[in-house]
Amino acid sequence: MASVEKGFDALAAQRRCLEYRRRILEISQQVTALHVAPAFSCLEMVDLIYSGLMRPSAEGLSPRFLDSFLMSKGHGCLSQYVILENFGVLEKSDLQNYCTPIGQLGAHPDFGVPGIEASTGSLGHGMGIATGMAYADRIKGDDRHIFVVLSDGELQEGSTWEAIMMAANLNLHNLIAFVDLNDFGGLARMSEGHPAFYPVLDKIRAFGWEAIEVNGHDAAAMHDGFLNRSRKKPLMIVGKTVKGKGVSFMEHVPIWHYRSPNKEEYAQALAELGEVSS
């Protein structure tokens, strides 16, 4: 725990996320369709969870982390894959064989793949599974945190609210969820099509959670939110994000939920991201 509490090197996180974005774009050149923009919007959250919040298991033990992470918004899993690759949990060849018959990685995370703790992709499942895990850990007396990343569209699933309510009923303060509030479903802006969806924060709090809203690309702010939690209730960090963050023509443009950039777009995207500073 001590290493987590010491603080978080935000600059190092920025450097990592830049490398991850470049790697995701690189993978995008292998396939015609993938979820670049949804991965970019939650990247800082997922990086923070792996590099700043998850406690490692004892040396040499498997799994590598004592704590758990569920990518409930399964379509954001490229962010998880490139991070797991960086940690050496996934091999470079796994990423090279993404979405091919000889590979083990698809466009949604699959239970059984190294580092993947639940099969997601159908939205509204992660919170229920996480609630069960957090409850089991508590009754077994295991000190483990469960981290979950949800999409905002996923908050339209009734099952997500069933779990949110149940986790609060059970007082599962070992459960920490992040909402990737990028304001987009697959089709359009949430704020335009579903204005009653907002405000999100009040709804989460009304369901018995501790909740904060921060910039979802500001790892330090999210880290502070985690450190300053009351440890009395489950915690929801609502992160306002930009879908397609970092590449101007992808930002807030729904088609990039699915599409891979062509060669010219790829070059432009890399140029916009810039070089990784040493």
């Binding site: 239970f111 059984g112 703790e117 639940a118 099969s119 159908s122 509204g124 499942h125 919170m127 229920g128 599974i129 996480a130 609630t131 069960g132 895990m133 957090a134 409850y135 089991a136 850990d137 009754i139 077994k140 295991d142 009734g158 099952s159 069933e162 779990a163 309510m165 149940m166 009923n169 059970l170």
Partner: protein, 306 residues
Amino acid sequence: MRNTFADTFYEAGTRDKRLAVVVADISPAGSIQKFREDFPDRFVNTGVSEQIMIGMCAGMALRGLRPFAYTIATFTLFRPFEFVRNDLCYQNLPVTVVGIGGGVTYSTLGGTHHAMEDVAVAGAIPNLTILAPCDPDETKAATLWCVEQTRGPVYLRLGKAGEPDFTSIAVDPWEFGKVRYLRNGQDVCIFSYGPIMKLAVELADRFEKSGKSVSLISVHTLKPLDREGISTALAAHKHAIVIEECVPRGGLAGQVKEIAWDQKADCRLDAFSLQDEFIHCYGTHSDLLAAHGLSIESLVQQLKIV
């Protein structure tokens, strides 16, 4: 059946600390209430939230517990169907989904509470084992198997309460994945499962009175189905009959016909199932079955038993 399940589960739960039960606002019958009182940590009531009942079971199983989801069959299987499919079956987790009131057991509650398609629906999902005991003794055996098993998810289909004993003088013991001869005969074989075994027993009695020798077979494990056992029975009898409390497509009857076709069976084969129809009828369980054509009088007439 419900009480036998509860007693068996309670007893196993005192020994095995991995066992937990997750209910969705159903009043715990018999020993489940005792389990709740004695092991409050291992009893969870999600309220009227069936999706999360299944989701939590998945998460608990991922942490090494052996959860049982427990409520009325329509609400353990139909309402949270995609959670059963994705969270339990796709991930192949050892969770038992207990469906109380399979078929039209809840005969006064109307069609919203009838699990007429439960076996067909459950049977379509890869990895899902289906157990459908016919009486309290089989319920005990099936429950104990669920407690110990490591195959993956199970749909344990139960009736309600007060089912009579059909198996204490059975020829065979209960064995997972094997058809079980309750009676051994030469002329007619009757395949059935679940509480409608009552009708199968009555039919066997009528055949025997008419001078026929009858094999009465409990197909308590519907998936994986004992194709070899069914095949052997089809080859050994001149007349085979399936009686099941399930819609006509997707249950046991169709599978027995497939097996018969595959082996070029030359026996006569009759199947009696629920109708492919929502029948608006209230009354006893037998009244509902009769409305679907599943009464002894109807069967005797159709089979021309003298």
